[in-house]
């Protein structure tokens, strides 16, 4: 009995901390998700564009950001950008870092969706005299957008998990809260960890289910 009441006390004790962390995690996910989506679509558009220099730029951007650990990207945002005159608090800097880090993955997902559209579609559009913008905007994009959604959701699931790294840079999100709670309640470490895991899973599993459902629907349509 004593163990249980102890555990309940601890749960009550850490819940405010966890909720605050959870909200910050959600906020990071929201800001970085929207930002990375916009930036990623732009990069993907550059990568298929007729202008060679845009293609080169997008490729270099993707290669660099994909090959640096997130920890170093966030480090750059948190410590180097302020020197360059970017005057934001650590939360926004972390959101910016996550946006930059996630955008190439969004771009790759979008591009792979484009590539999933059968080549005959583009050929048909071109053969009736459509230009690049028309071909992409009227024929390829509407078909690709359906295919893009599941891998895109996978990218956002990864982003949810990656927000935990921001905890190392003065953002009190869920993982930081977990660290603090596991130190305060050394006897109930398992409880604090499972609690945090459950909160993360509460975001990622529904997203995964949505992705799966959409994927099934798209497969029927194709």
């Amino acid at each position: 009995m004593d163990v249980i009441s102890n555990a309940i006390d601890a749960l009550v004790d850490i819940t405010p901390l966890y909720m605050q962390g959870f909200l910050l995690t959600l906020a990071l996910l929201g800001i970085a998700g929207v930002g990375a989506f916009i930036l990623g679509v732009l990069i993907a558009a550059m990568r298929i564009s007729p202008v060679p220099s845009l293609r080169v730029f997008a490729t270099v951007y993707t290669e660099i950001l994909r090959n640096i650990p997130l920890l170093l990207v966030l480090f750059f945002c948190a410590f180097v950008l302020p020197i360059l005159g970017v005057d934001l608090d650590y939360f926004l800097l972390a959101a910016l870092g996550l946006t930059l880090y996630t955008s190439p993955f969004v771009a790759e997902a979008v591009r792979s969706g484009f590539n999933g559209v059968p080549v005959g579609q583009a050929e048909a559009a071109r053969s009736i005299g459509m230009g690049f913008t028309q071909t992409v905007g009227l024929v390829i994009l509407p078909q690709a957008s359906r295919m893009v959604v599941p891998p895109l959701i996978n990218v956002f699931i990864a982003l949810t998990k990656n927000t935990s790294v921001a905890g190392a840079f003065f953002v009190n999100e869920l993982f930081k809260a977990t660290g603090a709670a596991s130190r305060d309640h050394g006897d109930l470490v398992l409880l604090t960890l499972v609690y945090a895991a459950a909160l993360y899973l509460a975001i990622t599993i529904p997203l995964g289910l949505i992705a799966g459902a959409i994927e099934k629907k798209v497969m029927v349509l194709r």
């Binding site: 298929i48 650990p69 020197i83 993982f175 596991s182």
Partner: protein, 314 residues
Amino acid sequence: MSASVLYDAPGPKTRRNSAIASVVGAMLIIALIVWAYFILAAPRVSANGAEQPGLFDPSRTDILADPEVWGAFGRGVVNTLRMAGVAAVLAIIVGILFSFGRTAASKWIRIPTSILLEIFRGMPLLLLIFFVFLMFSTGGYWAGVLGLGIYNGAIIGEALRAGISSLPKGQREGGLSIGLTSLQTRFIVEFPQAFRQMLPIILAQLVVLLKDTSLAYVVAYPELSRTIKELQNFYGSRYVFTLFAIGLVIYLVMNVSLSYIARYIAKKSGPKDGATTPNTPKQPGVDGTRAITMPPRGHASYGVDNGSTGGGGY
């Protein structure tokens, strides 16, 4: 000259315009870099009025003459590779086990495996490493290896499962009809094909694994990014930028070269055109860079000709 079906080969006017735009764009980027360089190089006055030298000042880079620093970086790289190597082997083994569990005939195996897999895939790697470290008191190295192995194993397992389920039904039926047992069919007929088809994704995931070793900082394992932190503590925070820049270059070199090796292997042993595997990808994004490009002429219309890594990489 472009082989894309999306647009015509540009004429002289378009070529000239895009050349001008390229030069202007490149100049803008160079100007931005130069500007950043000068800002970073300029001495700064901190809040209490003390002036600090610029980031490229010799007093910030003089530790580079110290062989101890390079020794520490070397040890950091070795530790990173040591962790990534063992974790990669573990991840592939765990991934194979997961993929068999997920496609098992008995639901008593299939459903628990699926739940376990969802949990491992949905949890942040940082939390998983922390979990192993605190619960099993394994020490930093094994906490990192186990965390990375299980997490990436779950993702590789999913990729392999997708590979198995995208095989034509006839493969399994063929195996069973010549008298192989269900398990033999899976091992001898289906699994080798799925593994080959998913090789690009598995290799891309291993690159991610190498990158993610940096998260072992949380259990104080002295890999590369932890080394940077420790050097900074030892030599003082004025070397922060120098150490960071060196770490960045080392990570880039390691990961880019591994990516290129991965792509080379994927191209050599990946699914060939006209293979038995279906050309239409069942999982959008996981497979399917072949459409819209025009492979017969050997040009990639979308500006890149590497294997698809769109599905992997988290």
